[in-house]
């Protein structure tokens, strides 16, 4: 069995949304920062495609889970900042619980000794 190279791990369906929500939990961020944060926090394991990331951001905004506003970036450029709405925060909590349970369950099965 070959192990896929780091940074090229395919994301499971729906995973990207919860990662983006998590990325915004620390305060407003623009798209580039979200991408960088996810890549670095996952230890370069999860390499999110840029286009998919922006589609996810806009879809989340469409659902009312994040809100956007234009502001100035650290390099003094006009950037679009996203932040969690109250509903987004609730959604993140629910998704986190679900993911944790799911991952633990899968882990238990995979580690089963007999």
């Amino acid at each position: 069995m070959t192990v896929p190279p780091a940074g090229d791990l395919a994301l499971l369906q729906g995973t990207l949304d919860v990662l983006v929500l998590k990325a915004l939990v620390f305060g407003p961020r623009h798209g580039y920062a979200v991408a960088t944060w996810i890549r670095e926090t996952s230890g370069q394991t999860l390499n999110v495609e840029d286009r998919a990331l922006y589609v996810a951001l806009h879809r989340l905004e469409d659902r009312g889970w994040v809100e956007s506003e234009w502001g100035l970036s650290e390099n003094n450029r006009k950037a679009k900042y996203y932040q969690l709405s109250a509903r987004g925060r609730a959604q993140l909590r629910a998704e986190t619980t679900r993911w944790t349970q799911y991952a633990e369950a899968v882990f238990k099965v995979l580690r089963a000794a007999s």
Binding site: G31, Y32, R51, Y54, H58, D62, A79, Y81
Partner: protein, 891 residues
Amino acid sequence: MRLGSGIRRLLRQPATVRAVEREVDDELRFHIETRIDVLVSRGLTRQAAEAQARSEFGDLRAAHAEIAAIDRSRVDRERRADWWEALMQDVRFATRALLGRPSFVVTAALTLGLGIGANAAIFSVVDAVLLKPLPYADPDRLVSVWPDGALMLGTFVQVRDGTHTLDPIAGYAGGAAVSMTGASEPARLVQSEVTSRFFDALGVHAEVGRTFLAGEDQPGRDRVAVLGHALWQQRFGGDRNVIGRSIVVDGIPRTVVGVMPSNFRFPSPAIDFWVPVSFDASRANIGKYWGMSHLNVIGRLRGGVSIAQAQGEMAILIDRSRSSFPWRMPDAWGTGVTVVPLERKVVGDVGPMLMVLFGSVAVVLLIACVNVANLLLGRAAAREREIAIRASLGAGRGRIVRQLLTESVMLGLVGGVLGLVVAAAGVRGLLLLIPPGMPRVTEVAIDMRVLAFTMIAALATGLAFGLAPALRASRPTLQAVFGATRSAGGTLARRRLSELLVVGQIALGVVLVAGAGLMIKSFWRLHQVALGFRPEQVLAADIPIPAFPSDSIVRSRLFFERVIEQARGIPGVRSAAVASVLPFGGASSMQSSFATDIEANPVAPGGAVPMLVRTVVSDDYFRTMGIPVLRGRALNVADRDSAPPVALVDELTARRLWPNADPIGQRFRAVWVKPWITVVGVVGTVKRDSLNSAGEVSVYLPTGINAGFNFPTQMTLVVRAEGDAAMLTSRLRAAVASVDASVPLKAIRPLGELVSNSAARARFTMLLLATFAAVALTLGTVGVYGVVAYAVTRRTREIGVRMALGARASDVLAMVLREGGTLTGIGVALGVAGALATSRVLAGFLFGVTPTDASVFVSVPAVLGIVALGACIIPARRAARVDPVTALRSD
């Protein structure tokens, strides 16, 4: 950056599609440039960094499209939600505001309901008659050939066989009264003779059985009939086994082959059933084939053929057929052949009349709108403060106008709902009044189209009467907020506006009342027309000839002689007679007109042949009808059988045919027969077809003599009573039955009723216009009263000051009347100008009155002026009674 979402929504700029595109651009550019910065800081050249950033991102354009699509749908949704939310807010607010003033709402809604309802009712008629497509397959391709003329059977056959533009082409004769026997008791019914492809041309199918087959208009195959739905229900109980049964029509047995659906009523709703016309070109039938029998022609344009092409071809084919006639046709015959859409032939000439009514009823609605607008203006004064407060809290003018318009549109919609109730009742009333002969009346109903019209009218009305007051009221007046409750400026401008509205209202009222006045005078003139006979105390009953086997002329004559004898014997009958056609009897004179040779004035070959209208009468006809014999003698019992043929002519005919000679002793004959007919007397001219038509050139032939014509298939019995004619009807029925019980008798009607029916359309137009004018006058008066009364109330203080300074009550009275009078004067003057400019559209409906009739144009403004001034008197007297002390203390 941490604003609550509600306020953020309020502050957000209205998003547009272009803004969405731009924002997506900006966002992606920021991403790329930040990445470039990072790469450059790692030591790449700017160029290399840019290339790498772009390749890392992938397809930028596709990403842009996908993201923008998500944003666009979100923005759309949010805008719709915002709009809806604002609307609901306006509606809630308007409902509260309206519920707070129930009496205002009731007044306004009733006024609008009447106006909208009357419009919807008239629209339902206009729509059914003029706007709805004909209920046949592909009606745009259906045409009428020569709508003002008709083709002889021989000509039709040649045209049918020669045409390349129309397929199918068909002919039909209007209704003819016939007797049906055989199935059950004898009945008098109306049949239409049609050619075999008549139903195919219209694209209609039988409900039961079939329509006619090609070739069923040939002698020998023509003994078939197709029943109308109503006849099938009434006489055959809706039995589907009626197909194949035999009926006897005027003695001819026919087999029923089909039944038409209930909505098929062509060429008129009076038709009970259809039979094939018989193309019998034999010698014995030559007078009918080339002369006496006519077909109206319809056809369906072939694909790609224009009306003009069809018309060109028809003109050629009809002209070519003239060489086949057994006699020489006048050169002028067939020169005016036209082809028009069938719809125009069906609708006929009622279009202009309906449009005048529609226009008038729209004016009534306009006047109603003005009244409600004035009510709103009055209210606006009371709401000045509320509006100013809203404005000072930041509501824009547009927002306030929208709020006020929501209120007026809601009022309009309430009026629209009331209007539907009014329209339902109105349509029922209209159908009772509608003159006989109005096309497509059976299609008049309150349907989805009328509903849609009513709702659109209600919305438009709401906007119309609401807009001016809303714009007026939304104009910012700061005094209103701070202290001064009676700000002079706003009130003055508002008064000017409402005065303007009242002037317009009076002017419109004058236009309508003047139109109604013209119609009333015209109608009165119609009733003054000298008929030439005395219809009072005369009863008329159509009597068909009984179905006799052969020798019918002699036996028919005998039958009618016995009927007359029986009728004369009834106590209370002064005299009795029969005639083939009665004045105002509804039969078109074309059916009984014939081409004539005048002995004294032979026609040059190809010249115009005089056409005479013949009436076959029994000898006592003139005494019974009260028609004077002016010269010579009346007919008498000796004018029969082998006696030399004689006739009477009326004065008009005598003057036309023999202008410089003594008509007595002159001779004429039908072009296709030998014996000359001698004129033995001259009688008074009578109005034949309608009150406003010129007389036809007519001759009276005695029933007793065969001068080469077929005996009429029906005669009308007329009796003059000594006293009350209505008492005689049952005795008359018994008298006819005693001669032949199998003869069906339709209604027995007073002759006067036939005469007044001929003025039915004039009466209909006059009644409706008069009603509209009365409503307009009432609304206008209420409008003037309202505005003057309101002005007096607002100026109580000023009047008090004047009186305190020495003005007498009569001065105040005069002042108010003068102001009301000025408004009225301007309105009336404008109205007269408007009426003079528009009354020309009535010219076609007026009889004996010019559209600028002096008496109407003097009396109408006078009446309106007096009524409007009268409306000012009540508030003026109230003003004169103002007590200066109370007035000054008020406020």
